[in-house]
Symmetry: C2
């Protein structure tokens, strides 16, 4: 059972955008305008809903999020932007709120015009269905190639209790800068949008920007964080203990959701934590971890359950960071396999191969250059990924 923040209602419908007649349109509504923060794709090709929503979020307020799956409304030109604005206007009108308080998000195929009729037909039903208990349906309506819906929550039990609820979608194209990934987090805590923005950016850096499935990033990635204050507590201010507690809750929720996305990496059978330690600085650690986490050869070896540390050390080597190959140690969970750049021996490979049979494990690469570290979360690369993505549009 998930903790639910007060003052939010949810609804989802099958509007017909997806030909499968599955849920494909959803609303999240706060009873009052909520303070809001957002993080968006760094792709230079940006979908219409983001072009509409980014300036709206800039004023720090949001009351409703309208999301659809089945069509990304990306690479659809001026018409796409006009359609996005019209969908937002339909929601605003039905809810009786101003247009600029409605955020928009879309996910699905690129380059196909987003049809307006499903929104015209579906909006009344959507608003009529708004309820505090429909968050799970919203998570399902966001899904595209996802195998399962993604929800995480936290409840702060202190003197001034509040809750956070996170809903996410994402499976393919997952990489730093948040590819085809949508995430909405709602809380009834009270804090302003500038603090929300800082907390959100830090939490995204260690979660959604530290996962990779295939290295691609999308045109539509959006993370929104809403705080409506409905829990009735005092305002949470920057630098306070309460802000630190909320940041921990937020980071945990986003990391949980990010790990679910890796685990749902199209066809993934493994979730692998790549941890680079002993780096000169965090940027070097992250660069090396990303290089290993995105290597097709490393990811294919994970699928083959092969403790192929040669590919790992090669991926560290071509990441371009400063290193001394004679200092590198590598272990799979607690099994050391490389010491000072050299194989420890056949026994160690045998023990490591039992680690690789697990669904989830950690590869630790100690560079012995300094004291900084960084983590990435990745999946294996296998036949199912090819199957899903070779056939996606056909």
């Amino acid at each position: 059972m998930h903790a639910l923040p007060s003052g939010y209602r949810f609804a989802a419908v099958a509007s017909g955008i997806k030909k499968s007649n599955k849920l494909d349109m959803a609303l999240i509504v706060s009873d009052t305008p909520a303070h809001c923060a957002g993080v968006f794709t760094r792709n230079r090709v940006i979908a219409a809903p983001l072009q509409v929503t980014r300036p709206r979020i800039a004023d720090g307020l949001c009351q409703a999020i309208l999301v659809n799956s089945g069509n990304a409304n990306a690479c659809t030109g001026a018409t796409g932007i006009a359609v996005a604005e019209q969908t937002g206007a339909l929601a605003a009108s039905a809810l009786g709120v101003e247009d600029h308080l409605v955020a928009l998000a879309s996910t699905g195929v690129i380059g196909v015009p987003l049809p307006l009729p499903p929104f015209e037909r579906g909006m009344a039903q959507l608003v009529a269905g708004l309820s505090t208990d429909q968050a799970e349906a919203v998570a399902r309506a966001m899904m595209t190639t996802d195998a399962f819906s993604k929800i995480a929550s936290a409840a702060e039990q202190g003197d001034e209790p509040y809750a956070l609820l996170g809903l996410a979608k994402g499976a393919g194209m997952i990489h730093p800068d948040m590819a085809t990934m949508l995430c909405f987090v709602m809380t009834d805590a009270r804090l302003d949008s500038s603090l929300l923005q800082k907390l959100l950016e830090r939490a995204v850096a260690d979660s959604f920007n530290a996962i990779t499935v295939d290295g691609d990033t999308s045109t539509n990635d959006t993370v929104l964080l809403l705080a409506n204050g409905a829990a009735g507590g005092a305002p949470i201010t920057e630098g306070s203990d309460a802000a630190a507690v909320l940041e921990q809750h937020l980071k945990r929720i986003l990391l949980d959701l990010a790990k679910m996305i890796v685990r749902d990496g199209e066809g993934a059978t493994k979730m692998v934590h790549i941890r680079v330690t002993g780096a000169n600085d965090v940027v070097a650690a992250r660069t090396a971890a990303r290089s290993v986490a995105t290597s097709s050869l490393v990811k294919t070896a994970f699928f083959g359950e092969d403790a192929n540390w040669g590919r790992i050390i090669a991926a560290v080597g071509y990441s371009g960071i400063e290193l001394n190959q004679e200092r590198i140690d590598i272990s799979f969970d607690d099994v050391p396999i490389v010491a000072k750049g050299l194989a420890i021996g056949p026994d160690s490979e045998v023990r490591a191969s039992t680690v690789l049979k697990k669904d989830s494990f950690t590869v630790t690469i100690n560079l012995h250059m300094g004291n900084e570290e960084a983590s990435y979360y990745t999946s294996d690369l296998n036949y199912e990924y090819i199957k899903i993505n070779a056939d996606y549009r056909t």
Copy 2:
């Protein structure tokens, strides 16, 4: 029939490094010390043979290349370097040349000690077998996961004729900075090592550093260019017409070999030329082309013969270059599919899908930002890649 430069002999044997008893050791010998240039991997983890060979090449002379497949002699520490030097000494002694005139190259599995006995046993046979007509056997002895051997040649027919012969290996881990790729080019033209080095670096930039199969780069990549002057012509000097002619021959040979490597990309069924035009500068063009060429989603769509331009435009977008999405045109061979960032329409997709059924085609992405362009050559990503690489060591 390949053109053969004068004054070179070749030999290959099955020494037993490969358990399959296939050819795995080879010698290329010039009758006299040849002027020499080399380009090596930019991976920070560098195999033993490169650590021995780079300083030897620095003096600009080389008389013999000893190459083995089946073992990369990488991540093998001080012992690996000592073994590499011993293999070179065996060849030098058998040939009656000084150690520093022998270049070494290895390819195969990483992290396993290279055994010396196969060299001790095989060297006499190797030297006894040296012949002007054994170049094809050398190309075969260099193969690891390669499906076919790779040879290209050129013959200059002018007043002062000469020939160039290139032998290469490479299939997996192919990416800029030349992953698990070996290439040796021999010519009987006469030119000094400093000019050779310049010509080689320019030719590599437009060939081996413009191909990608899976984005990984290896610890062992080596390109060597030898010129022994045995054709008897006058010295070719920098800036001369003769140097320009030789550069064209060299570029054509290296590009031919590079394309063979892409075509042999582990399990590849397609060879795709990614051409980015209308860029502000060559670096931006190359960055965008590389981003498209290395995208797993784009490469999987090629396998699915799906004209999925949305993934292409997304990959251009996340490459980070300056662009205006409303200016981008994309075509598959001569079929335009995107104009000013928007789909041209279903007819165009149908025509493009017939292009995608071909073994080889060109994707042109015009950014309309400037006048520079760059090319990358890539393959599709498919089940066979997973199969080969999940099972490689097992």
